[in-house]
Subunit: 230 residues, 2 copies
Amino acid sequence: MSKPISGGARDRVPLSRERVLRAAVEVADAGGLGSLTIRSLARELDAKPMSVYYYVSNKEEILDGIVDLVFGEIDLPSPGGDWRSEMRLRAISARRVLGRHPWAIGLLESRATPGPATLRHHDQTIGTLRGAGFSVEMTAHACALLDSYVYGFALQEASLPFQGPDTATEVTEPIMQGFSPGEYPHLVEMATEHVLRPGYDFGDEFEFGLGAILDALAAWLPADGGRRPS
Amino acid sequence: MSKPISGGARDRVPLSRERVLRAAVEVADAGGLGSLTIRSLARELDAKPMSVYYYVSNKEEILDGIVDLVFGEIDLPSPGGDWRSEMRLRAISARRVLGRHPWAIGLLESRATPGPATLRHHDQTIGTLRGAGFSVEMTAHACALLDSYVYGFALQEASLPFQGPDTATEVTEPIMQGFSPGEYPHLVEMATEHVLRPGYDFGDEFEFGLGAILDALAAWLPADGGRRPS
DNA sequence: GTGGTCATCGTACTTAGTACGAAGAAGGTA
DNA sequence: TACCTTCTTCGTACTAAGTACGATGACCAC
């Protein structure tokens, strides 16, 4: 009856802070932040709720931890390389990562204590720009601009009820049903003449805006700096 | 004993969907999204929890509703005016509003059903750009770029543990304590030589990046379009 | 006053976070 | 072998939150 071995909890991979956080990411990926509870997390780990608390002191710490895990997935720019392509790749990677973990975007707002992956990420980004000749001040401007764009774009993508090309129709249709005719004329024009056209994919807007921003940054470089003067 | 009049619930302003949502915004403003519960909301309304459910069918509907209320606070651009200043004012207004209601940013991610204020807002924005001569396609690009920037900037501001000029020191200090020396050299440089200097205010970055984006948009106008070619 | 609709609320059930401390496993020491 | 310590895991139980269900009283038409 009280035989300890096998079945229940024995002889499986032991828990660890690492495993707890990774499992938390998986649960959130699968069902959104709302589905991440201590109990669902314990189920995913094949353990009991209170076991989790041996590795984290509360749920807040889990949220801080998974945000940092997500940051760790973003490709780091290398301070040696061409700043434009490094920043471009970093932005593209960040957008992809945040697309995989959309719940992380909303979490950023309430989390004030950055983890090590987050800090290293910013350190490398700043380093790349400084190494390319941007002044400290312009580097700050550039980071604020780039990060804002990436986060904001990911946020918009996450709040879109559809994803990928040609998927907008079924979702916008019911919303537009409720419109009084002529209530939102420009919105309707935009929808019918552009967004609902076959082949449209909101995600394609990303590189367009990114290019514009990088062009703007190039103009901030002291002397020769910006090749491609637009 | 069962006298109905006064004191308890009688003779006070009757509830309404409007009042419920406005009270919800106040509760969230005061204590964050986490403090917004049906019970805290009922307390704010001087009513009992279940009374709220006469006006909304569940908490999700409250969240949708307060996001739309927040959107309604943003100044609308007027399709007649100069597109550049209209977009500038809209962005500044949006940032200020999201600064007042930082919890709204995180909510955007999970809310897929836009309310009337949100729809009107986008309609007017599109209309202003179209009226200024932007093609449908370029208007889409412009909206994506501008909105991303505004949301992303607000998100970064919200996740900053400090706010306003000269408030960074006390918060970054304890974080930097934990650094191994030389672990984040560029971050340290940025902090000591710029961010922690007296007078620095992250909020000032906003107009800088905004100007760069508006310059970029101007270049997308067909012929004469962009005065101020940077 | 009888019936009906509107607005408010009391009760109670479910789920979530988590405090507290028990209990088993593993290893040391006498 | 007996006993003690430490590391993990978990059982129990308390509190708070969302909300289903139905009761209760106010107000109105007849």
